[in-house]
Amino acid sequence: MTDVADSHEHADADKPTSSDAPASDVTDVAATAAAAEFADIGEFRSLRSDVWRQFKRHKGAMAGAVTLTVIVILCLLGPVILTFDTSTPNVSNANRGAGWPHIWGTDNLGRDAFARALIGGRISLAVGFVAMTVSIVIGSLVGVVAGYFRRLNTPLMAFTDLFLSLPLLPILLVTVVLFRDPVQDRFGDNLGIFILMVGIIGGTSWMSTARIVRGEVLSIKEEEFVLASRSIGTRSSVLIIKHILPNIVSQVIVSATLGIALAILTESAVSFLGLGFPLELPTWGKLLDDAKDRISLNVWLVAGPGLLLSATVMSVNLIGDGLRDALDPQNRSNG
């Protein structure tokens, strides 16, 4: 199902969600049942392989997956291979243009720009993944509880609305300024700011996940197999874990992928405005902030991290699109 699902999420749950009633769970049961039945006939077609096959068909998503893998590998291994010292200043080497051996030139303290961009990538990617995880966890929790326990539905949704109404960037900025020092005192400089950024970004982007999950849970709850399970006395917690959660996984995955892109962009924006990581840590946003004034000196100082950042975000978005298409049962070819 396409992006239209997003528009339904905000409109209140009092109305029936007509077009996104997921047939996925039924299909899953059917698929696994069919698979079991035809297990000895030809190829074993599981959900996972079906999804993967569909995903491979989406050219953009494949390109995205490849690009992301390349970037991640570059960021993890690149600085190790490149052997430039990216923290010690070397003033005599400062401000060189693009060339050899510094393919993107050096910064004002003589450090290789490409190596620093890759290190920055590690941090930006780490923030992206972890913040997304935080956001998914909170969002799923709120969504499941709100969807499953009727009495908690209204207060939790009001709470979600509250967060949706907060102007996030200003709050983010103020909170960073406010809490940076105490957190850094507690956890050390770098870990402290990492925890702060991840916490704040995760804590302010869970709302759409919550809404989607809640919508899913509401409809799954009415399914017959859930009723059947309840009627034999299954406890709520078991129900949630065994039946409901697996069925919302696909929606959550899609939400997660898109959440990574948002988290990376938000962290870059905050760093760009000067309020993120400490200045020695070269996240992409920080590098862009430093470089935007030196752009006449060396355009690669901007174009480089900009390219990496954009490629990462684009790849993640493409993967998300591909996953969404692949996980949509109407798209998958029949088994």
Partner: protein, 342 residues
């Protein structure tokens, strides 16, 4: 429907109160005071006087209540002074209300905000309008010719517009068009009064706006284009379209009378939802292009510790968000007959 709207409006009030309380205490705990930018040679008793005179030393709750009253009661009254006066009505100290005072400029914070609204609106509004005007036709065409080269190129461009953040594209634009080519100015002059009868006057304003509007248009067009494409695509596959075609309706009629009307519903609601979001986007755009609008004012006031201004701005943003969320929901319920609110 009416009951739903009333219920939402009633819910909005405590939402806004809670938001303002949260923001207030957050900011109150934030460091910095109005004298932080004064030279170090200014002695402490002078600093104390300044803080005292601004009400900085009052307890937080007192400050909040004072602010709330000024913001929610006095500011609207101030706006109503002139129109009510024409009808001969005068509420409270008309034309002499106490107002929320900015600590930096020692003048009413809302006056400063009113002065900056036009510039933010120009940039963000035009970016939004052009973005939508570009996105809808292109998105529709893409859906129509799904998987054609047009669609693929369009998707690529959309992806780029979506993924390249403003703070990457902006400096590159400035470098290319202002510094190297010299086509556009880098100083956005807010005091330029556009004389609508003078072509050169209008042209100056256009020149100032081209780059920020272009960057925002790209981003907005990408976002709405994706959405439009998906929405139209979904509708094109519906059975009623097949029926319409089978009935012998021309493609044009099918498109305009059936498909577009249904596809644009989510787009419209997305638009309504995007409007408060663009104020956050304003912060970065205005900072890059040196536009002295609301986003820039917010960033500056946070840095200067100007509590009343930040409080008022955040409150306004929040109120706009709540309002547009509500409008989006109402529009959605209004346009889509399948949706019924109880």
């Amino acid at each position: 429907m009416v009951r739903y709207v009333i219920r939402r409006l009633l819910l909005a009030v405590p939402t806004l109160v809670v938001i303002s309380l949260v923001v207030f205490f957050l900011l109150d705990a934030a460091p910095g005071d109005p004298t932080s930018q004064l030279p170090l040679t200014i002695p402490p008793d002078v600093r104390e006087n300044i803080r005292e005179s601004l009400g900085f030393n009052d307890p937080a709750l007192v400050q909040w209540i004072k602010w709330l009253k000024l913001m929610v009661v006095n500011e609207p009254l101030y706006l109503l002074d002139a129109p009510l006066d024409k009808v001969g009505v005068c509420i409270g100290d008309c034309f002499n209300h106490d107002r929320v005072i900015s600590w930096q400029s020692r003048s009413p914070a809302m006056d400063n905000i009113y002065q900056k609204i036009p510039h933010t609106s120009y940039v963000l509004g035009l970016g939004l309008v052009f973005g939508v005007l570009i996105a809808v036709p292109i998105g529709t065409m893409q859906a129509y010719r799904q998987y054609s080269w047009f669609d693929n190129v369009g998707t690529l461009v959309t992806m780029i517009g979506f993924s390249v953040p403003v703070f990457v594209l902006g400096p590159l634009f400035i470098w290319l068009f202002s510094i190297n080519l010299g086509w556009f100015p880098t100083i956005y002059k807010s005091n330029h009064e556009v004389d609508w009868t003078s072509w050169s006057s209008i042209w100056i304003q256009i020149e100032q706006l081209v780059m920020p509007v272009a960057v925002l248009t790209l981003f907005n067009a990408a976002q709405f284009g994706r959405f439009t494409r998906a929405s139209v695509l979904e509708n094109l596959n519906q059975s009623y379209v097949r029926t319409a075609r089978a009935k012998g309706l021309g493609e044009g009629t099918v498109l305009t009378r059936h498909v577009l009307r249904n596809s644009l519903i989510p787009v419209v609601t997305l638009l309504a939802l995007a409007i408060p979001g663009i104020f956050s986007g304003a912060i970065i755009t205005e900072s890059i292009f040196r536009i002295n609008g609301l986003g820039q004012y917010l960033l500056l006031s946070i840095g200067q510790g100007d509590l009343p201004v930040v409080q008022s701005l955040v409150f306004i943003f929040a109120a706009l968000t709540v309002l547009f969320n509500l409008i989006a929901d109402i529009l959605y319920g209004f346009l889509d007959p399948r949706i019924r609110y109880d």
